[in-house]
Symmetry: C2
């Protein structure tokens, strides 16, 4: 029942496409779900994808377009005629999907398509949606929804819904408004089905409805839908009039994207890329952080050269450079990632910053002490120099303390200044802690060597 | 309309709880959404939480329990009597929430509660659910669903649905089965509302229904629901009989948890912790990877001591230890995270392993060359020793190549052996690449110094 894309299937499909064998190509994909076809299109070149796409009939083609990944779709859209796109939009697309799609096109092409949409109401809905910030509730919502007046009774309500239901794909709630279109509540479909037909909408509605404004940020929308377990969320304007609704499937995408973005930042990847993107795109996505790493390494070299005299006298101090640098980096990444996760989960604001730093210092003190004692024991046994033994342990504890405070502090400060705290995870924290770690280590070393040996 | 938890609110609430002021405490929370109360409970000590919880009436109390975080709930559950819990379950909980809850209790207490549930059918549903693996479709599903027989007409269907709807919280689809309970299709509520009342279910059902088996893994369930934009997914047994359904809100939790787990692994945190957990829990969650880092650092020291003679003659080679170690670590983390994300998104299997490694090598070659040239220029200007200049550049390229191949290879191999590839991200990759990087650097250094200087 469920389709699994294999490289064998792809090979056969590509062969049929490349020999322009329409019938066989169509046979291969005609029974597949639009989401599966979208997945396949992502694996084809854009010529191949266009050939296959043009074999699909209207409704399926539109569903496939909606299900595609953004970059795959962009390539395909640019190969389709504006007439074709306008027809798709008129016949088969919800306003939010249509707006998402248009956003990927150059403005001239957008205008051309909008002017070709035969349904003016739909065109104006789409224009409205295009005006909202992509990362806001307005950018996520669809205008299509089923709304009923609070003064209607069930019978009228059902009659009206039958009319309206034509234009709505998914239907979970019916929104209730007053004569001025102010949102008054919702009626769940379950409620509609189990209520008697003479009931007034006013009397069966759930007035305790959670809504967001068009300018609510996407991640907040996601947090709200997740927290309150909602499948659909009404969107109102500044004064409370109903303008659209967001469904859970759009929010699942937001949740995934947020998580992926944070994950890529902590792993030092600056641009949104996917495994199948080509080598050049990967190079570009990874180079920026590596350049910062290189810069950090050069700084590290300069720090060490400040202490070159000490190093010449006691070259064995270099033995523990990797240890000190690695521990600083690891601790910093741990601390910063905890902060970033807390901020993402919206649970970070309850404690004051000083309290958070205090706890972080306590954790660092525990871990640092344990690790310092362990390396102390190791060095006592395997290292000849007692000064080095002491230096490594004291420096390790200090570096861990520093790295954890720094790793906590920086993302918190970024967050306070409304900058994405995830920028301070991964390579940034590692690089700074590397350099600072070496500096602390060599500084402590110089001090101890001068006190204990001279 | 929307509640925002502040520390001021918490302080007032705690004061009222600690002075055992039931009325005022209740007044503070009585109008809040269960999800908000659940959030508040998470910020209280377990005595405080119990006091507050016992003020809630049955249905709200059950909703709060369902909305709570697992660990918060576990503490609370252990303070409630088995009578209370049995009453909750009978009156207000879906089978899947009840099973999730019982799973958190010791077996003796589970049995006690199950025996106190007055509704035998419900008790047996829960026992069934407890038998499934937590990370499978069976563990995610609820038994409560609305099903109708394919031979009924719409009128009978609506009548039956009204009866069944009592026990179902959320209602998106009606499942259609034959006389032997085999899943035949679904009817969307939208369809029901817009169809004429004399239509036969058989004729309006959507037979092209996507379902999973009870033993389908949670992450696959999440991928399927996300890919096909489903809000509800029927679960069948090995031969196709309908046994339950999974709703999108449960799957959103799975998606979040998967993402958090991967994020914690890449940041070197081994146990699922939250920012508000205490310092000791944080220490325990972070120590394991730091120990591995320490061990790696010791290995690094031993590698360097192998080359101690060279270091004594050319101490300036130590200047670039941090650079080499950091670049190896960064590149390794980038490569491994790309693989992990690809595996999570289910798009990794289409290319052969050799193709993936080849592309990775190409990326490494691009980035490595750019970085090597840059550091070469830097060293030409700022470093006296040409041998060192050459050594650093050649070593950097080699280390980047090694780290990226290693970072790609290890998670792929883990995945092939059904081990979570995310284990190979973060500190593990960094540590290995640190040590190997230093080894490669010093090895190349020894070679070049012996060729070029002797």
């Amino acid at each position: 029942m469920q389709f699994k894309l294999t490289s064998e299937f792809l090979d056969i499909l590509k062969e049929n496409i490349n020999t322009k064998n329409s019938d066989q190509t169509y046979d291969l994909i005609k029974d597949l779900h639009p989401a599966d076809i979208a997945e396949i299109l992502g694996e084809l070149t854009s010529e191949e994808a266009t050939f296959l796409y043009l074999l699909l009939d209207g409704e399926k083609a539109a569903d496939v377009l909606t299900a595609m990944e953004d970059d795959d779709r962009e390539h395909l859209l640019n190969r389709l005629s504006t007439d074709e796109l306008a027809r798709h939009i008129t016949d088969n697309l919800d306003s939010d999907d249509a707006a998402d799609m248009l956003m990927e096109l150059p403005e001239a092409k957008q205008d051309e398509i909008l002017n070709k949409i035969s349904n003016t109401e739909q065109a104006s809905d789409i224009v409205d949606l295009l005006g909202y910030d992509e990362n806001s509730a307005g950018g996520l919502m669809a205008k299509e929804l089923i709304k009923v007046n609070e003064n209607w009774d069930m019978m009228k309500c059902i009659r009206e819904m039958r009319k309206q239901a034509e234009i709505v794909d998914e239907l979970y709630y019916v929104y209730v408004v007053d004569d001025d279109n102010f949102l008054k509540g919702t009626v769940s479909l379950k409620r509609l089905i189990i209520s008697r037909s003479n009931a007034k909408i006013k009397n069966i509605l759930n007035a305790d409805v959670i809504s967001v404004r068009t300018d609510t940020k996407s991640d907040e929308v996601a947090n709200i839908m997740e927290k309150y377990d909602l499948v659909s969320l009404p969107v109102v304007d500044q004064i409370g009039r109903l303008v659209g609704r967001i469904t859970i499937d759009d929010v699942v995408d937001v949740i995934k994207e947020e998580a992926e973005k944070d994950y890529q930042l902590i792993s030092g990847i600056t641009v949104d890329i996917e495994p199948r993107d080509n080598a050049l795109m990967h190079t570009r996505a990874r180079l920026p952080w590596l350049l910062i790493g290189l810069f950090g390494g050069i700084l590290g070299a300069q720090v060490i050269s400040l202490f070159e005299e000490n190093l010449k006298i006691n070259p064995s101090i270099a033995l523990f450079f990797p240890l000190i640098a690695a521990m600083g980096g690891n601790v910093g990444v741990q601390s910063s990632s905890i902060v970033v996760q807390g901020i993402a989960a919206n649970i970070i604001d309850l404690q004051s910053m000083s309290k958070k730093l205090l706890k972080e210092m306590l954790v660092a003190l525990f871990n640092g002490s344990i690790l310092s004692v362990l390396i102390f024991c190791y060095n006592l046994i395997f290292t000849d120099s007692f000064v080095l033994t002491i230096t490594v342990s004291v420096a390790l504890l200090t570096v861990i303390m520093f790295a954890s405070i720094f790793g906590t502090f920086v993302p918190l400060v970024l967050h306070r200044f409304k900058i994405d705290p995830a920028l301070a995870t991964g390579p940034f924290i590692t690089t700074v802690n590397d350099v600072m770690g070496i500096f602390i280590y060599l500084g402590i070393g110089r001090l101890f060597y001068s006190i204990l040996q001279m």
